[in-house]
Amino acid sequence: MSMLQLFTDTIFSTMRDVLPIAAVLLGFQLLVLRQRVANPWRVMRGFIYVLLGLSLFLMGLQKAIFPLGELMASQLTNPEFVYKDLYAQGITAVQTVRWDDYLWVYAFAFAIGLATTLAEPSLIAVGMKAEQVSGGGVSAWGLRLAVSLGVAIGVSIGCYRIVTGTDLWLYIIVAYIIVIIQTFRAPSMIIPLAYDSGGVTTSTVTVPLLAALGLGLAATIPGRSPMIDGFGLIAFASVFPIMSVMGYAQITVWLEKREQRREGKDAL
């Protein structure tokens, strides 16, 4: 596909996505609220920036990141790469899948989960708001790092699950029990933000690459179904950030308390 055609296609599909929202905003603004927006031209320019920016972003991803990332995911999960030592000895029929045959896959899942979540535009938006609302108490960068670490850990465990073929429900239920316990122990002001982080991560950049990784694994390991195991990774990517964001707040509070205790001792 030519660059120009790709660009018009992307802009068109982004516009189709934005049009209903613009209609709702404009309709209510004009018919119900009937108030003037401050700086209407500036706001308008902002909407055009968002539209153009998102189209460029998606187009660049399709050109630069997705093809190579998906190719890498399929190569890393390919038995020819996983068992290259055995293949070199002429053994091509691998009987049992051991979990530690796939160490590079877990490493890749961790690294790509971390890196793509850091670049996720919706998470950038939520981080900006959280920093502003908390008066700097929650830093945008700290929140994004916590969420990204959660995704990274979640998807590596998710890959381990696909390789070993253990039951998805077991993991998800244990994860939710941890989330419930944390909910009652973590500082209460972080909880809504933590829950939101779960929904934000599974978005534009992360999902296509994770899906490729999950499908690659599920398709090459005997006995796994791409239907069930592909979506499993996305479930992991949405639960673990909830834990890591609450954990980040818990650790911050714990460190502050320890600092205070130490200062208290010094004073004595």
Binding site: S13, R16, D17, P20, I21, V24, L25, V32, L33, Q35, V37, A38, R42, R45, G46, F47, I48, Y49, V50, G53, L54, L56, F57, M59, G60, L61, K63, A64, I65, L68, L76, A111, A115, A119, P121, S122, I124, A125, V126, M128, K129, V133, W169, Y176, T183, M189, P192, L193, Y195, D196, G198, G199, V200, S203, T204, V205, V207, M227, G230, I234
Partner: protein
Amino acid sequence: MSIPAALKLFRPLLEALRDLTPIILVIVFFQLFVLKQPIPNLAEMLAGLLFVLFGLALFVRGLEIGLFPMGESMAHAFARKGNVFWLLLFAFLLGFGTTVAEPALIAVAGKAAEIAALDGVIDTTEQAMDEYAFGLRMTVAFSVGTAIVLGVLRILVGWPLHFFIIGGYLIVVMLTYFAPHEIIGIAYDSGGVTTSTITVPLVTALGVGLATSIKGRNPMMDGFGLIAFASLVPMIFVMIYGMLTV
């Protein structure tokens, strides 16, 4: 573009570069050192990365001057007006409108119809598949509208979020047990599909704006949480849709 405006775009550009560096490092490292292969189409890839960089910077700048102020000013206006009906209608339409035309959802719904046809849940005719896909799309869009309405009601009344979310996930676990298994994957995916890149900033600005302008609400405690609703409720609705269409 005037010089100050160019400077304002320069900071997001630097930040975008910082945000994208990890992806580049990961891809280069795994490609060159683990898979031991050269980077294919280097020139095209660099061009693509430039697009991603400028796109992200423009997007962030657009958030700051467009989406965030708009969402917040509307939230304040609704709070001043004090008409709950219009606010809830707005919340519903915002959720419905951001989801119904979402390209990712259209793709997922089409795939779901194919799977349902292969499994013999619906006829394999074009018409039956289109109807199923359309029904699914409407279900998801309706569920996101409902989710935002619920979330806004929660902000107005001041109910604690965790009861809804923990309760909601219990319902998800229970429904997972009863729902036909070919719909489960789609249901879980639909939770992620609905929170698109334009929905998230708008809905966040709406929630925070409402919580800021209503007396007795704390923007941190009450302002966030709308996205959590928007990713939870569709799972429930889609599984119910799957149970009803069998």
